[in-house]
């Protein structure tokens, strides 16, 4: 066993491919198990991975560069494209960073709607994830259900915001409109469907001998690795770390909502999946709370100074929010002109997919790499932006 792994010199594995003992294998970017576009350069010995290197950049569009030459209002349509399956966190954070620098307080009703938007989007993103996670372990049926339910959530978004994927709903200064009439009933119907689906997932996936035998004990993250690797969100909570931006640094109206931080202690793929499964229930509960309690009248939006030549006071700020993958943050620097000086997007996938995955993959069976990768819930477009 011990001679299976190549020696490590200066933090790098040194292997001789000519020896015939190791094989280099690429997975992705064109690979059915890899979420989005990224690739893993695997060195395998037998069917075990001895070294892994993540390659990203297939989706690089240079958002941070593009935003430097766009007016603030024009950054608003572009930010949601940074993370395709969960765009609303980006929209909120961009708006929040701008509002923080300008010293603007958005109307109360807009805050509730923004929270609703974020939670609904979290739910959709989790459904997307469960589709991938189950598919990676061969449970295609669950993936079929999950994607269909996600589509029902997208229908809600379409009715509410006018688009399925890129909602462009949270604008700087507020939100872009109220909820349509009769929409609440549709939400409730979809939520009931998702709840039923989650029960089924529990039967079919979590209590499944195959899933258990593959996921339990796979990719264990010890609590001491959390800070060293900058692990956040459900991945950290799967290792028993009680942290959630929504509780720790409450934003919007999360301090008025009733929810607990969901954790598991095992730190493996199964535990992380369980955390997310619980968080889907949590999201459902939050959506119900918001719909029940949110104000139905009042302003939605405060008109900013003319957006065509809006200047944001010089300064820098960092705002964060909890996405499905964990802490998502925007670091915005303004130099007082109509263009942002620099906007840095701190996506949780960044540290998860690169440093952490490379570390965890070593020793894993090749067939389990996708399950492991999906349990970290990485979305490549937010890594490379």
């Amino acid at each position: 066993m011990s001679d299976k792994y190549p020696p490590i010199v200066n933090g790098k594995s040194v292997y001789d491919l000519e020896s015939g003992k190791y094989l280099k294998m690429w997975q992705g970017p064109q690979h059915p198990g890899v979420t989005g576009n990224m690739s893993l350069e695997l060195i395998i010995s037998g069917d075990q991975i001895v070294d892994c290197k993540t390659h990203v950049g297939y989706l690089h569009r240079g958002f941070e560069k593009l935003m430097e030459r766009r007016r603030y209002i024009n950054c608003f349509p572009i930010v949601c494209r940074i993370c395709v399956p969960e765009p609303d966190t980006n929209e909120y954070l961009f708006a929040a960073a701008m509002e923080d620098l300008m010293g603007i307080e958005v109307p109360e009703r807009a805050k509730w709607l923004r929270t609703l938007n974020m939670e609904l989007s979290r739910l959709a993103s989790f459904l997307m994830w469960i589709g991938g996670q189950s598919g990676a372990f061969g449970h295609g049926t669950v993936a079929q259900w999950a994607l269909a339910h996600r589509d029902f959530v997208l229908d809600l978004f379409e009715e509410w915001t006018g688009a399925r994927i890129y909602h462009m709903y949270t604008t700087p200064g507020g939100v872009r409109g109220g909820t349509p009439e009769g929409w609440d009933n549709h939400v409730e119907r979809v939520l009931q469907g998702v709840e039923k689906f989650l029960t089924e997932v529990n039967h079919v996936m979590f209590n499944n001998a195959v899933f258990k035998s593959r996921a339990v004990g796979l990719g264990i993250i010890a609590p001491d690795m959390i800070d060293r690797f900058g692990v956040v969100g459900p991945v950290a909570r799967g290792s028993g770390i009680v942290r959630d931006t929504r509780k720790d640094n409450p934003y919007l109206i999360y301090d008025q909502l009733d929810f607990n931080i969901e954790t598991e202690t095992a730190g493996d793929v199964y535990a992380r999946a369980m955390v997310r499964w619980k968080e889907m229930h949590q999201a459902i509960s939050l959506i119900r709370q918001i719909i029940k309690r949110m104000p139905r009248t009042g302003p939605l939006h405060i008109t900013l100074p003319n957006v065509l030549h809006l200047k944001v006071p010089a300064g820098e700020t960092y705002v964060r929010a909890e996405s499905t993958r964990g802490e998502y943050g925007y670091y915005m620097v303004s130099d007082g002109t109509i263009y942002p000086r620099k906007i840095t997007v701190r996506g949780p996938s960044y540290s998860h997919a690169m440093a952490l995955l490379e570390h965890l993959a070593v020793g894993v069976n090749i067939a389990d790499t996708h399950g492991l990768m999906l349990s970290l819930h990485t979305y490549p477009p937010e890594i490379e932006r």
Partner: protein, 174 residues
């Protein structure tokens, strides 16, 4: 946060303290003192989480600003440490020994800004761009629109400014 700044100022040369929000402050430190400061913050002050590491290009004063953003999970406060680098010779000490993910950030900064972090594993390897031959793209003197228009095939635009168009059409002689 002010208290922390006062405390740190006893040991480190800090300047430009800005408290953006009660739980978020930014401060500039001398380049040589950065790693000791970060180590101190991480080990003594419980700023255990490296949120992000990024750079801002201040082309006008010929400086790069590196921002190390740290988070304290106990007090839930953030501190942003700014370091100014000379834009002509941007070299910075690596912090990959403090946080594992720092090497990825440093690799990205090396590629996007051309800032060097000697000793950081794999810092020289291209990360995002492939076969890029131009200058580091995130530098402000690289004009992406110009590059795009020159490199790729764009449909020729056919637009007019209302003001100029009306002048040409309605009162060309005035």
């Amino acid at each position: 946060m002010k208290q922390l700044d006062t405390e740190l100022s006893k040991q480190f040369t800090l300047s430009d303290y800005v408290e953006q929000r009660p739980e978020l402050a930014f401060v500039t430190v001398e380049k040589q003192q950065l790693v000791p400061l970060l180590t101190y913050l991480r080990d003594t002050k419980k700023y255990t989480h490296l949120v992000t590491l990024t750079a801002v290009d201040w082309l006008e004063v010929n400086q790069f600003q590196l921002t190390y953003l740290l988070h304290n999970y106990e007090t839930h406060t953030d501190i942003g440490i700014r370091v100014k680098l000379d834009r002509d010779n941007p070299v910075m000490e690596t912090i990959h020994h403090l946080w594992e993910q720092a090497r990825v950030y440093q690799r990205e900064l090396h590629e996007m800004f051309g800032i060097d972090f000697p000793g950081s594993p794999g810092v020289e390897e291209p990360m995002i761009l492939e076969g890029w031959q131009g200058p580091p793209v995130m530098r402000r003197d690289f004009d992406t629109a110009k590059y795009s228009l020159e490199t790729y095939d764009h449909r020729k635009r056919d637009t007019r400014e209302p003001e100029i168009y009306m002048k040409e059409k309605l009162y060309p002689e005035d």
